[in-house]
């Protein structure tokens, strides 16, 4: 079941990665989209690691696996794309936008609550408590900017509106991998498969959404 689940995500992310690579890895193309493409690359290679581990007779839930770094890498790229490229265009740090910054804190707060409820206070192993904590930190930073850019008013450039669908997908992705890790820590194969299907669908939908968003933004 884990093998099928990871193959689904890997194929979906690889499709987006190749599409993004062809579309955006050229001179003078949006750095924002290049970051999202690389995040899909992280998802692809992370899942490929799990697939190869399972095919070579290994187990992915008993010990730390490098595939986990794929999740971290993808979240770092999501964070980097928003924080490093778009955020400074939208938010000048003025008091007028204070309430949006405050509301956006709901996403990292939800991640912390989920971590405490699903990992820290439950009877999962110490390894999963540590992995859950690491994942929570990265989900917090990525989801903060995703939610912020989802609710932020479109003042000057019309950028926010175009990228809202992507930010929504990124939020769903963050939630799905969080629940997937929770399911994996408890050996719940069905929930893992469902989460992987959601992760795969969001990963596959991300690149077309970005392409459409950037096209609207430029026209």
């Amino acid at each position: 079941m884990y093998l099928i689940a990871n193959i689904i995500v890997c194929v979906c992310a690889l499709t987006g990665f190749i599409y993004g690579g062809i579309k955006f890895f050229r001179p003078r193309k949006a750095l924002y989209a290049q970051m999202i493409t690389l995040s899909l690359g992280c998802i692809t290679f992370g899942r490929l690691f799990y697939i190869v581990r399972l095919l070579t007779g290994g187990n992915i839930s008993d010990s730390f696996q490098l595939g986990f770094l794929g999740l971290i890498g993808s979240l770092m790229f999501f964070f980097s794309s928003n924080f490093g490229t778009v955020n400074s265009l939208l938010d000048d740090g003025s008091k007028a936008f204070g309430k949006y910054r405050l509301i956006a804190l709901a996403a990292p707060l939800a991640a912390v609550i989920m971590y405490v409820a699903l990992f820290l206070l439950s009877d999962v192993s110490l390894l999963w408590k540590i992995l859950g904590a690491v994942l929570t930190v990265f989900v917090m930073e990525a989801s903060y900017f995703n939610l912020k850019h989802l609710i932020f008013p479109d003042v000057d450039f019309g950028v926010v509106k175009c990228l809202r669908p992507y930010n929504l997908l990124a939020l769903v992705y963050s939630a799905a991998i969080f629940v997937e890790c929770c399911a994996l820590s408890r050996g719940n194969e069905l929930l893992t498969l469902i989460c992987c299907c959601v992760t795969g669908l969001t990963a596959a939908a991300m690149m077309p959404t970005i392409v459409r968003g950037i096209k609207k933004w430029k026209t």
Binding site: F25, P27, L31, M35, L38, S39, G41, C42, F45, G46, L48, F49, V52, R53, L55, T56, S63, F64, Q65, L66, G67, L69, G70, I72, G73, S74, M76, F77, F79, S80, F83, G84, T85, S88
Partner: protein, 214 residues
């Protein structure tokens, strides 16, 4: 022999070091990074030895999960220093990081050759030459690409380099796992080539486009 790795290091490092003054300036930088790569490989072998001991000599787990991380981090450090202090030019960084990776692979291959001389063949040399050397080169070059943002876009540099390092570690881990498995080892040999060829094609197109514009 107990000190074989140090003997090998001296035998490789010293002649290359002595050749530095004779090499033209443009190529000297690349040679320096090959030398750093060789030195990194020696350092990594010590670190990996400690990790293996700490984790109870579980060779498969260590080589597929721990050594990719230690090797990629140690290879990235000289490039980080180079990007911070000398230049953040993307082309120079990519060339330097690829050279470092190749130097690393050169030493690793030679050490494996010397320590398991009865089990090696021409096929082994071809496979190691094309797969391991390329894999190390590609992984370090990927991290070098992220470091080219060190001065231009600091916000991107920190996150981007960290994420590319993650990507390189996973790629290295997949490669190590594939080449150690009986059924899938041929995929492992092909993986670096499958990554290298599209990159070279993209590079050729880029150079051709530049030429056409000028």
């Amino acid at each position: 022999m107990e000190n074989m790795i140090y003997i090998l290091y001296i035998c490789m490092f010293v002649p290359l070091l002595l050749s530095l003054p004779l090499i033209q300036k443009a190529s000297r930088g690349i040679m320096v990074f090959i030398l750093i790569g060789i030195s990194s490989a020696l350092f990594v072998s010590e670190v990996n030895g400690i990790m293996l001991k700490t984790l109870g000599y579980n060779t498969l787990y260590v080589t597929t999960t721990v050594t990719p991380a230690t090797e990629e981090i140690i290879k990235a450090l000289p490039i980080l220093v180079y990007a911070f202090i000398i230049t953040d030019n993307r082309d120079k960084l990519l060339a330097a990081s690829f050279a470092l990776g190749i130097g690393f692979a050169l030493f690793e291959n030679t050490y494996i050759l010397v320590t398991s001389v009865d089990n090696v063949s021409i096929a082994w040399a071809v496979v190691r030459g094309f797969s391991t050397a390329l894999m190390h080169g590609i992984c370090t070059a990927a991290v070098g690409y992220g470091m080219s943002f060190v001065k231009k876009k600091k916000k991107l540099f920190y996150c981007g380099t960290f994420s590319l390092l993650m990507l390189a570690i996973i790629y290295h881990g997949i490669f190590n796992m594939l080449v150690q498995s009986e059924e899938l080892k041929y995929f492992g040999f092909l993986l670096p080539m499958a990554t290298y060829i599209p990159l070279i094609i993209a590079l050729v197109f880029r150079v051709r486009n530049k030429k056409n514009k000028t």
